[in-house]
């Protein structure tokens, strides 16, 4: 039972990471109807920029809280600017193009970002410095969790509530919902849709930067290719929960994390030794396929009415 509980904790941690990144995918899809494949790379850039800032700040004697703040602020600002530019340069010109065009562009931007990161930081795997004490706590005396892991879970939940409140209970959130329903109608109603779209990307990128720093701190490692697989899995999580849906992204993320963790831990038992932990990725994607077959719009996604 202890092991099961630990696996659940592991899954929640991995899942919260997926959730944070999935929120970015889901918001952009909700507003623009495109899948921003470059989002995973923005997470990576957040981590790498944070790494560079930390290494730079090491030369000076700064109190820990200040350096942590600077690292987060620096990475968030950088990624927000990056996402803003990506939107303006790569996606805005294609707003009225057939759906396939921005999709391909997104893949292109993703490859571009990965290669630029490779040129700037090289291909080696960097050890991400530990800037504060990462203690391990015991929950109910049976499972272990570290400070950073607790922060990951908390930030992901807090973010979900904040975003949900923002989009559903504020006026600006209403503007975002209007834009996602019908861009042109929203424009006619006086909503400045360019701003709405930019804000969406900036919020997504800020989350990506935070996720990147937390991941790098949690695993102690950062490198140019850390965004690819993560982006793919987070996108899967967003689809699993219902793409375009904020709550769906978090539920999808947590669920995917749990499935991966419990799957890897119990697949041998479940298949009587036929399949081992080398099938852990297979399980995750199998679940995705099953869910979509039964509920094509994801777990909490609603059927969108076809426009006449």
């Amino acid at each position: 039972m202890d092991i099961f509980f630990q696996q659940v904790i592991n899954g929640l941690v991995i899942g919260s990471v997926y959730a944070l990144v999935a929120l970015g995918y889901t918001m952009v899809y909700g507003i623009l109807g495109i899948i921003n494949f470059a989002h995973g790379e923005v997470v990576m850039i957040g981590a790498m920029v944070a790494l560079s800032i930390i290494l730079f700040l090491f030369q000076f004697d700064i109190p820990i809280f200040l350096s942590i703040a600077l690292v987060f602020i620096g990475a968030i600002i950088f990624c927000s600017l990056l996402a803003f530019c990506i939107e303006k340069i790569a996606y805005k010109p294609l707003r009225n193009a057939p759906r396939l065009a921005p999709l391909i562009t997104a893949i292109g931007v993703s490859i571009l970002l990965q290669n630029i990161a490779m040129l700037i930081w090289g291909r080696q795997y960097y050890s991400f410095p530990q800037i504060f004490n990462n203690d391990t706590y015991q929950i109910f005396g049976i499972a272990n969790i570290t400070t950073i892991q607790i922060i990951i879970i908390l930030i992901s939940l807090v973010t979900m509530f904040l975003l949900f409140y923002f989009i559903n209970k504020t006026q600006y959130g209403m503007a975002m919902r209007a834009t996602s329903e019908d861009k042109n109608a929203a424009k006619l109603m006086g909503i400045e849709i360019n701003n709405v779209i930019s804000i969406t990307f900036i919020v997504g990128a800020s989350l990506a930067a935070v996720a990147g720093i937390l991941i790098a701190a949690n695993y102690g490692i950062a490198h140019y290719s850390m965004g690819f697989m993560l982006g793919l899995k987070a996108f899967t999580a967003a689809v699993l929960g219902g793409i375009g849906n904020i709550v769906g992204a978090v539920i999808g993320g947590l669920l995917l994390g749990l499935i991966e963790s419990l799957g890897a831990g119990y697949i041998e038992k479940l298949t009587f030794g036929f399949m081992g932990s080398n099938y852990q990725d297979v399980i995750a994607f199998l679940v995705l396929v099953l869910v979509l077959v039964i509920k094509p719009n994801g777990l909490v996604g609603e059927k969108s009415s076809t426009k006449v």
Partner: protein
């Protein structure tokens, strides 16, 4: 419309012509500026990627040997020779290795030192074999490399059959482990080493409590480690590289898993200690050969290396150096740089390298290859013992 067609045509011509210009690649001159005959020695390894630090290490070993060979003004078949390294990057990937191997072949290399990983060395060896180009690997340990029956494929350190069984013997006898969990990274190297380890352990009466898998894209091992935690093992054996072994140790500690950790040469590096931090304390690892200070020429090679390249040796640098010198020595004995002439001399070579005596058996493996065991103490690899020469 007409103008659009013309623009499209111009664009196409531009793209096509740039392809031509790019493909007019380097020119392979035969003689250098001083009239010496250029003999190309190929080096292949991961110069970029997660283990670029190891690939660069190998490349440095080769470069140092070549530099010294040129300083000796070697003459073959009446011509003064200038050796030149042609270094290619296989990124440690199976998808790239055959491409770069072909590139080396096209450059007319007289011999190849490489590759680094077993997964890249084995496919590439077929290409070198087809062209009759002798190949010496300074670090590929998988047994299949020399099992292919290629007369010109060699390696200068012990293979995984020796390493896996040495590790198993160490686990059972030295650490007195009884229930062991094995994790491998599904690469040719990891899987091969883990399989041999598992078989030997079973043969010695040990119990393999579980066999888990990960892969080179993963950085989260908490699920399989938690599973292992529930099995009450005495030892975890990991067959894979340092860039994953390091984070794995950290996660092991976070989960409160207090067991011995044993691993192979893929983790017996400085990078591993850097990535694992203080979690690396007490980790056991094996490495083919002997530590630098026990090699016949180790200490002097170390200072030469550090002086030339301003960095420390990672692990296989001395082997790459010896491999290159063995190749050159065979050429000198044959008085020819042509593979068909010097290969017989390479097969029967008796060369005293910095790592020890080098001679090959009929398969191409090194005779009397040894495996040494190390343990991390105070953030450094400490030498424990050397397990038998075969």
């Amino acid at each position: 419309m007409k103008s659009k067609c013309r623009n499209n045509l111009l664009f196409f011509l531009f793209v096509a012509s740039s392809f031509f210009l790019v493909s007019c690649g380097s020119d392979n001159s035969e003689f250098d500026s001083e009239g010496r005959k250029i003999v190309y020695i190929g080096h292949a390894g991961p110069l970029t990627g997660p283990i670029a630090h190891l690939g660069k290490d190998n490349e440095n070993g080769v470069k140092l040997a070549i530099q010294e060979a040129n300083d000796r003004n070697i003459s073959l078949d009446g011509q003064t020779i200038s050796f030149k390294v042609v270094s290619v990057d296989d990124e440690g990937k199976e998808s790239k290795t055959t491409l770069v191997a072909q590139k080396l072949v096209d450059t007319n290399v007289s011999g190849v030192i490489g590759h680094l990983n077993s997964g890249t060395t084995i496919p590439a060896s077929k290409i070198y074999h087809d062209e009759g180009i002798p190949q010496i690997s300074p670090s590929a340990t998988n047994v299949n490399y020399t099992n292919q029956g290629f007369p010109a494929a060699f390696r200068v350190m012990a293979n995984d059959k020796q390493q896996g069984s040495a590790l198993a013997n160490f686990a059972i006898n030295d650490i007195s482990a009884n229930k062991i969990a094995v994790i491998d990274d599904r690469t040719a190297y990891g899987k091969g080493l883990a399989d041999i380890f598992e078989d030997t352990v079973k043969g010695l009466g040990g119990i393999i409590s579980s066999r888990e898998f990960t892969d080179v894209t993963k950085s989260d091992f908490t699920a399989i480690l938690t599973k292992i935690k529930g099995l009450n093992v005495d030892l975890i054996f990991y067959a894979g590289m340092d860039v994953q072994g390091g984070p794995m140790l950290k996660q092991l500690d976070n989960l409160g898993l207090n067991v011995n950790f044993l691993t192979g040469d893929g983790c017996q590096t400085l990078q591993f200690i850097e990535l694992a931090g203080k979690s690396s304390q007490g980790v056991y690892a094996s490495s083919p050969g002997v530590p630098l200070d026990r090699m016949p020429g180790g200490i002097s090679f170390n200072s030469k290396y550090e002086q030339t390249f301003n960095q420390s040796i990672q692990i296989y640098g001395p082997y790459a150096y010896d491999a290159t010198n063995t190749l050159i020595d065979a050429m000198v004995k044959a008085n020819s740089y042509l593979p068909e002439n010097y290969l017989p001399f390479l097969k029967n070579i008796q060369f005293k390298g910095v790592t020890g005596d080098i001679s090959f058996d009929e398969k191409g493996d090194i005779n009397r290859g040894s495996i040494s065991m190390y343990q991390v103490k105070n953030n450094k690899w400490e030498y424990l013992k050397t397990l038998g020469d075969n």
